[in-house]
Amino acid sequence: MAFAAFATGTAKEQAPRRKSRIALLLLLPGILYMMLFFLVPLVSLVMTSLQAPVEFGDIGEYETAFRWENYVVAISTYGEHILRSFGYALMATIFALLFSYPLAYFIGVKARPWPLLQKLMLVMVIAPFFISFLLRTLAWKSLLSDEGFLVSSLKALSLMAPDAHFTGTGAAVVFGLTYNFIPFMTLPLYANLERLDTRLVEAGGDLYARPATTFFKVTVPLSMPGIVSGVLLTFIPAAGDYINASPQFLGGPSTAMIGNVIESNFLVTNNYPAAASLSIILMAVILVMVVVYIKRSGTEDLL
């Protein structure tokens, strides 16, 4: 499972044995590809973010410039969307962690005597990946719509105001983000907990620690690398997502996230510099958070 490997960094480096030209030949095509279609585009994105509109030109015509105020404009115009993106992504990450930890603990620790059951449950965890992302989000939209079973029965029981909605609210967007990225949280947690040394947990009990104390002082610290990679794998795609928050899916008019703004600026209004500077801001904030977070949680070896 690739995510697990990425998450836990289990790939132990063997002592590199020989220097060789073969290494260069093996690396060259792939690395050139990544430079051409990952690094150069990033540079081109930075250049685009600094472009200025052509004087007397058409809409969508821009020329190379160094207009740093594009960033100021982007932040002042879309500050609300930027904050909302990180707020939603943070909530979704916390909910996904709370949802996934007990599940991963059961699969990785309690179900150890039954390897086949473990495998089956893992397949069920990744099953949502195999049905289209968009269709599963639309499925929730129908299920949670005003005509849907859940909302209509809540209204019949007067647990929800008759004119209240769930779809189109921020809560629905956070729900969608949480659901869609749960496997990204569960897999690295599982990969870590699966190797948890239960003798250490038992030792906690033997030393008269209450179960809760043992859990927070032994189990959680031991599973920190899994938690860190799960949080990153959930938070990063959630912050940049624009499907859940789109009004056609679970969002409404006031739930637009930074991804929605980038999309509409780039593909609808052809305001490339605004879209590019917002993308650079999103990437920069995420990179800073990733580095700080990894340093803080003492799992530098992930990088």
Binding site: T10, L27, P29, G240, Q248, Y272
Partner: protein, 289 residues
């Protein structure tokens, strides 16, 4: 305190902790399994919904249940746009997977087996795309294509998908390469195998499970990608893009049919690989004894 007393005391203590632990397991033994079951059911809800509504006798939009029919399954291509989009997605997925798996496997082998300068920079170059939000990857490539004046279409989608798949392939294959015993290749060389023979007869077969896993992963990533595709597709349709565009006026039930079929195919593939891996492990264990 005599040794006798100490023994009794320690027995008492073990006994107490044992009871305490048993009590705890008694509690956890039903709460956790029940939770895990409910959680897995929750994860499956939208899958079940999509599958059930593939049998809906729907008109234009497939939201209200109008009765059971098999027509959607027997005439999948009644909505020609659905099949066209699906075909494009298949082509893109296969081509991007072949390129990404080849390039990624080569990098993975080099990273584990050889020593060279700029190693950490190369690792960073491969790690960064996975830590970058898709919307940024998509916008960046689209900005490059715009600057270079490239016409967007199926080619640009393949370029984009190959790019984000390579990193995942490297990670998946790398973990396999690092579990490989270099002595096996050495043995091949000692037996006067040429480098090409050693690679195709020894290294490649041993790496194959990792390469297959990486290829499946990259096909899945490519097939379901919408965000990056949307920025680089131009007017070309893919399966996710078709769903996104028709979400406003209603998804035809044929889309549910294709999604469900793909789902079951993928699940069967995964189950086969998991069960055969389990069988192999058992066989090896038996032979080891």
């Amino acid at each position: 305190m005599s040794t006798q007393e100490a023994r009794i005391l320690s027995e008492a203590v073990t006994d107490r902790t044992a009871t305490a632990r048993r009590g705890r397991i008694g509690f956890g033994s039903w709460v956790l399994p029940v939770y895990a079951f409910v959680a897995l059911v929750f994860l499956a809800i939208p899958i079940a919904y999509t599958f059930v509504f593939s049998f809906n006798d729907a008109l234009k939009s497939n939201v209200v249940w109008r009765g059971f029919t098999l027509n959607n399954w027997t005439n999948v291509c009644a909505k020609i746009e659905v099949c066209e989009a699906f075909g494009n997605s298949l082509v893109i997925g296969v081509v991007a997977t072949v390129i990404a798996t080849t390039l990624g496997t080569m990098i993975a082998i080099a990273l584990v087996r050889y020593r060279f300068r700029a190693r950490s920079q190369i690792s960073l170059l491969l790690f960064l795309p996975m830590a970058t939000p898709e919307v940024v990857l998509g916008a960046a490539l689209a900005a490059e294509f715009l600057t270079a004046g490239v016409q967007k279409g199926i080619g640009t989608i393949i370029i984009a998908h190959t790019m984000f798949c390579i990193s995942f392939v490297v990670v998946a294959v790398k973990s396999r390469v690092s579990t490989l015993d270099p002595a096996l290749e050495e043995a091949g060389r000692d037996l006067y195998g040429s480098p090409a023979q050693v690679f195709w007869r020894v290294t490649f077969p041993l790496l194959l499970p990792g390469i297959i896993a990486a290829a499946l992963l990259s096909f899945a990533l490519s097939f379901d990608d919408f965000i990056i595709t949307n920025f680089n597709a131009g007017t070309t349709s893919t399966f996710p893009k078709f769903i996104y565009i028709s979400a406003a006026r209603g998804i035809p039930a044929e889309a549910n049919v294709i999604a469900s079929a793909v789902f079951f195919l993928a699940i069967i593939l995964v189950l086969i690989t998991q069960i055969s891996a389990e069988a192999r492990r058992k066989r090896l264990e038996k032979e080891g004894k």
